[in-house]
Symmetry: D2
Subunit: 203 residues, 4 copies
Amino acid sequence: MTNVKLAVVFYSMGGTNYQLAKWAEEGAKETGAEVKILKVQELAPQSVIEGNEVWKATVDATKDVPVVTSDDIEWADAIIFSVPTRFGNMPSQMKQFLDTQGGLWASGKTVNKVVSAMTSAQNPHGGQEATLLSLYTSMMHWGAIIATPGYTDPVIFGAGGNPYGTSVTVDQDGKMIEDVQAAVKHQAKRTVQVAEWVKKGNQ
Amino acid sequence: MTNVKLAVVFYSMGGTNYQLAKWAEEGAKETGAEVKILKVQELAPQSVIEGNEVWKATVDATKDVPVVTSDDIEWADAIIFSVPTRFGNMPSQMKQFLDTQGGLWASGKTVNKVVSAMTSAQNPHGGQEATLLSLYTSMMHWGAIIATPGYTDPVIFGAGGNPYGTSVTVDQDGKMIEDVQAAVKHQAKRTVQVAEWVKKGNQ
Amino acid sequence: MTNVKLAVVFYSMGGTNYQLAKWAEEGAKETGAEVKILKVQELAPQSVIEGNEVWKATVDATKDVPVVTSDDIEWADAIIFSVPTRFGNMPSQMKQFLDTQGGLWASGKTVNKVVSAMTSAQNPHGGQEATLLSLYTSMMHWGAIIATPGYTDPVIFGAGGNPYGTSVTVDQDGKMIEDVQAAVKHQAKRTVQVAEWVKKGNQ
Amino acid sequence: MTNVKLAVVFYSMGGTNYQLAKWAEEGAKETGAEVKILKVQELAPQSVIEGNEVWKATVDATKDVPVVTSDDIEWADAIIFSVPTRFGNMPSQMKQFLDTQGGLWASGKTVNKVVSAMTSAQNPHGGQEATLLSLYTSMMHWGAIIATPGYTDPVIFGAGGNPYGTSVTVDQDGKMIEDVQAAVKHQAKRTVQVAEWVKKGNQ
């Protein structure tokens, strides 16, 4: 059993990425990893959220999920990010979290974190690749080690074959179209496994 | 009717991108554009091609299609590229063509070409976004003007909603899974339209 | 003289991108364009800004600059973005502005805007290319027309030869290392010129 | 001392990337790694090379360097790529090598290779970031583990601060402008170190 510490950091407006995060937690726990599910700070005003039933429901459903801090990133051996795509890039809420980690970055404490990422979009090709790649570009600045799924397991093909990370299409009613649960779990296990190698080697 | 000159430059191993190119030609001709369909030079040895039935059939089917030259790029007001994805990037055959346009580039003759691109892959998220973006990065070096479909027509949503260019998933038997014909035609018309604006303005 | 309307939309913490924006304005005005310089909404709390002398000075210097709205984007024929790089991507402040333009996007009013972008970083290769490319990816979702400088003028080589847009390195004291003023002005003129062609053609 | 096997795979026309490869070899050997320096197959016809003195000299200087094969990639625990930028992307010669590794990829033998990359360009911002990122996108398809330098050592700042990999600007006479030797060695050591962790853990 591993002793890897995994932070699953998500932003979710409609619930999809919270669900992906929970599946990642399940997969990681099967390997024995210690897992924290963490949300990033919302930037939208409460009044806007109140006017959107689905959004409000997600905020309610995640109200007990802690907001991620620099301490969580420092704590983690591995990080899995999960965000919806916004115009082919991560949402501002996640970017704001990354941008405010300058102090942690400058102290060298982001180095050698093992990372991967997940995403969702309303269109099959509406940024599901580009958004993941945008996260990895930032992670290279952090000195992180990037371990994407590639095609390391047959479940990836069934989930749309995204080598950069699990991604899912969400229909107008907020339902996921592809069944990506197994792919998410595989990704979580792979991320933890690589993190375990790094952690052991780096001791 | 437009007097735009459009070069549709493709690489095709299994026939998909040749078909996309022909649909683009059809769409563009409906606007009155003058269209050349052009293939890039194959790099694989003949013996390898002979050993692959589908590949051989495509080479046969395209044997009368001219190989694109610098003169064709100079001639064109607009260019639509169509290539399969190879590990999230354009195939070497197309890259080789771009790389050998250094002379044309240095003379300034690539500037203000209006461009867009199309692609295909075996997996829905197997590089269908990343490959198109790789082409546009190179086109920025050329001083080209990039006019992707975005979400400028409802047919784009039906074709998978790729704002970077039409893309299609091809199954094991080489059949296209989504019906992208209308999206390709729309893309061709949009590329020609923007090229017409640029051409008129630039005279 | 052109009748193009140009919005120069920037985020600036240390003053560099505000200066780039003003040079872009100067260049654009020489062509007769109508120009609005606009800042994006700050996300940092006032207390944090107060604790940073340079940041506070920039906030003071830009206090009369209007905050950009959807109406400004609708108004504009052309947009030039100017942002510092944050981990190889645009800052959250700019991303937040883009993300909140969903209504404008859904109404089709972002289509055919002619765009280019500028950036700054503390390291020569600290995201000066990646940040510009991240903005263009989002602009493809908007259906914008991307007209980067490429190598359309010799001044670009003198400014570091960034074909994706003017970029500048800023030292520890906040001073720009390369002289990019001429490159910025050229970029602004080029963006306006392409926008003029599109505007005339599109009428 | 490590027992990591490192393949340094380069393409070089003017000698720069061959030099970078040799510095990487030096750095890696200091850690005890077993290193192979390997070139990719040239695509240009001999007659073109003969007409270019510098190119011819590089071909002569590297005539005893073996051409990389699938067996070399299978052999390697770690890979460092070194290529000049060609329009913001790797050269066709390197892409051709990657494209022809489909068999190795399909057999799963590209998985968990630890990779990083280096590049050169004539302009400081002429693709030095974009080219490295294009290589990493392909490596994610391979299931490789990406370990870029980030800002893991002060020598990186002195070499231009490229977190994606060491990059260097080459002047008209083919001379490197920045002194990147220490950064290359650091990158090589870091790539080997991460590969060692992965290799030990994966046994």
